[in-house]
Symmetry: C2
Subunit: 454 residues, 2 copies
């Protein structure tokens, strides 16, 4: 039997710097626009929502940004995370490819999200902020910020999409165990929420609405800021620790990826694993294919339009140019709640436009099939989001088999599925179906994009 | 802020030997008796249930038993597990004590149970066994054996206590995700199960009944053996890797425990952390206080009788001398399902009789209170079982504060609570109550102990 091999870095090798891909891009991404003036936003426009240090990171073009020592001290609790060579999976697939996966499920919240939650909580604490507001879908981000808030003594208030709030009480319980306050969104605590509840008291909510509520609340109080778990440049920046560690670990293995695979919702775990390698390539190093795997039911990169759009439903956020399905688009329900967002990180969208990354869309059933294969070979049950990366990696491994190529595949297993067992129950019980979005609704949402050219 | 410190061993330092405390005991524990003849069991009596290698370990008095290389290869996926110094918790308690915890929740199944599941699956595979049967309560053991079975290509059939089967679908889903078959016990697949269902079709089941079913099935087929997740000597042996690693990690920290705390159900995680240190003491090394923390609702060590008893309800298992509440005793429902067993490991019971360990009983509410304090200070939400160890460690830390002593406390955080969030929901919602057992029922169960003297 070929066993899984672990490549474990010593904790002294936790990276000292995040990698900022903005330093190496052949062209800068289009500017972010103010929602009122439609002019490029200034730092002071953003300061109602974010603390100065994070705004600086958002616009920085420095290649390396130092990770503060108190953040590294907390990372040390679970980092460096392991890199595994999935030899049992390779054997089960009969592929000549080498499959490596970086495993972020060892964090206390079970996913990659604490990498940025800890950093954001730290900078806000340093700035004297007492409270952070945020949104969450399935709850991975909300529970991670709750964890970070507990460590830094910051109150955390999470607007959780109502349908998830009702269906997924366990992630909510995790937030509350960490001492955070979790509200169903739309809520009665904001104008945006009250308006929607007045029209429909049973409104199921959406990520876009929850963002509107969190932003509205943060903008009202000087001791309160907003925290976002994906999409923004500084969030993607904090995740690059994943790829930097993976690079050092592959170096231990004497290897380098031909292909990198990650799932994409807002883009942060994808950026985390891929950007450091893309940076090498942009600086003249080895070329690497990078494949984003998105859900077929919410396919922003493969079916969306590259256009200016709002990040939220109430149109309180700045406008960013990104691959979007339209801020009014509501994807059908599926289990990978962390991938149910209408837009894509502007940096990831820009790379797609530059032809530096590829994207594919996979159905839920195919992804759960891949997730179970992986669990039985490697012993780890992936989160529904992460099954998309597993699916993409298996597709690449099978391509290698057909082509007879012993390529090296690296993917990001961004979280475990211990909070998502209902999805596996549904899948194993044959109750899971692939629901597509409504084509007419998508066309309407795209037609409704704000007419902005910049 | 004082941060948590991690002591991480290099994977080359995964112990090569399990530690067998039988080699160092001042007197041997009383013999195990055949349920029919009431004479000491022979190896051949046990061979219907266990494979030879495990029977040899069960009766061995060798101090060091080599861990097979294929087992170490799989351990390597998550071992060595981290040892943490809980400086944030120390600070929150204002104690002069140093609190260290060994964290077993990083395993793929989220607890210490895979340490023995992998070993048992390996030895059975080597012996050509195709199928393993077992019982499970809350599901930690069942899911761990399912994990190990998937890796070694062995079919696993788990009898899960019906009340847990109905109330805790997520651990069941984890077993099924690994490809195991999970049945509600009592089931229609065994004589023991059918008899009980005939009398009461809605029988809630118990661990003792599930053991009877698993044993009955294993005894019928030569390609099938039985696997137990705690209690037996060889199971405790496999867990000693926990304490051996902890000893090496404390050595890195330049420290040695004054007190070791662990929760006790069947006794395996307790033995795992404590036996290597007790061995040092028995061989003339430093003395260490060892405190077992058991649930007040199922207090075998503190309220049970040290007597011969059966391990199961249908009285199919051999008799062992242990602290027992009687095999007919049914503890009230509480969330730490892994601690709901009428008996205690014979080795742990023997140590208690020898005065080498102490035991205390804690209520569920006190334990969840401790669990939340721990989560907010250290960022890890403990399993309900593990909250007992947290509670015990906090009590010791507060004693140190009162006495002004800077002692070193080591405890075993045997699993995370990600599958147990309903318990936290109940606790946070004020719905959890402390239910005691029925004193009259306990008296009856103790009166009904088999009259055996050996």
């Amino acid at each position: 039997m070929n066993d899984t091999i672990k490549y474990q870095l010593d904790e002294t090798r936790i990276p000292r710097f995040w990698y900022n891909i903005a330093a190496d891009l052949p062209s800068a991404p289009p500017p972010v626009l103010h929602p009122g003036t439609l002019k490029p936003v200034t730092a002071s426009d953003l300061s109602a929502l974010f603390t100065d240090a994070l705004i600086e990171q958002e616009v920085s073009t420095e290649r390396e940004i130092e990770i503060p020592e108190p953040v590294r001290d907390i990372y040390r609790q679970w980092r460096p995370t392991p890199l595994y060579r999935a030899r049992r999976l390779e054997q089960a697939l009969g592929t000549p490819a080498k499959i490596y996966y970086k495993y972020e499920g060892v964090s206390p919240a079970g996913s990659h999200k604490p990498n940025t939650a800890v950093a954001q909580a730290f900078y806000n604490q340093q700035a004297g902020i007492r409270r952070l507001t945020t949104e969450t879908g399935a709850g991975q981000w909300g529970s991670s910020l709750a964890f970070a808030g507990a460590l830094f003594g910051i109150d955390v208030q999470v607007f959780m999409v109502r349908v998830s709030y009702d269906q997924k009480p366990y992630r909510r319980a995790l937030m509350e165990a960490y001492g955070a306050r979790c509200l169903a969104s739309p809520s009665n605590e904001t104008v945006a929420g009250r308006d929607l509840l007045a029209a429909n008291p049973a409104h199921p909510g959406s990520l876009g609405i929850a963002i509107s509520e969190a932003v509205e609340l943060a903008a009202q109080r000087s001791d309160t800021k907003y925290a976002l778990g994906s999409v923004l440049n500084h969030v993607l920046l904090h995740q690059t620790i994943v790829g930097k560690e993976a690079m050092a670990q592959l170096d231990m293995a004497g290897d380098y990826p031909d292909v990198i695979v990650a799932c994409t919702g807002g883009g942060s775990n994808f950026a985390g694993i891929a950007f450091p390698f893309l940076g090498e390539q942009l600086r003249g190093g080895q070329r690497v294919r990078v494949v984003a795997v998105e859900p077929a039911a919410c396919p922003s990169l493969t079916r969306g339009k590259y256009a200016y759009d709002f990040g939220d439903t109430a149109h309180l956020t700045p406008l960013t140019k990104m691959h979007t399905l339209g801020s009014s688009f509501t994807p059908p329900g599926f289990h990978a709640g962390g991938l149910r967002y209408h837009g894509m990180a502007p940096l990831v969208s820009h790379l797609k436009e530059l032809g530096l990354i590829e994207a594919i869309a996979c159905t839920q059933l195919d992804c759960f099939d891949a997730g179970l294969r992986f669990a039985r070979a490697e012993g780890i049950v992936p989160a529904p989001e992460a099954t998309h990366a597993v699916r993409g990696a298996i597709m690449e491994a099978m391509r290698c088999k057909i082509e007879g190529k012993a390529q090296t595949i690296l993917f990001n297993l961004c979280g475990h599925g211990h909070f998502d067992m209902q999805a596996y129950i549904d899948y194993l019980g044959g109750k899971l179906v692939d629901r597509s979005y409504d084509e007419a609704e998508l066309a309407m949402a795209l037609a409704g994009l704000p007419s902005v050219s910049a």
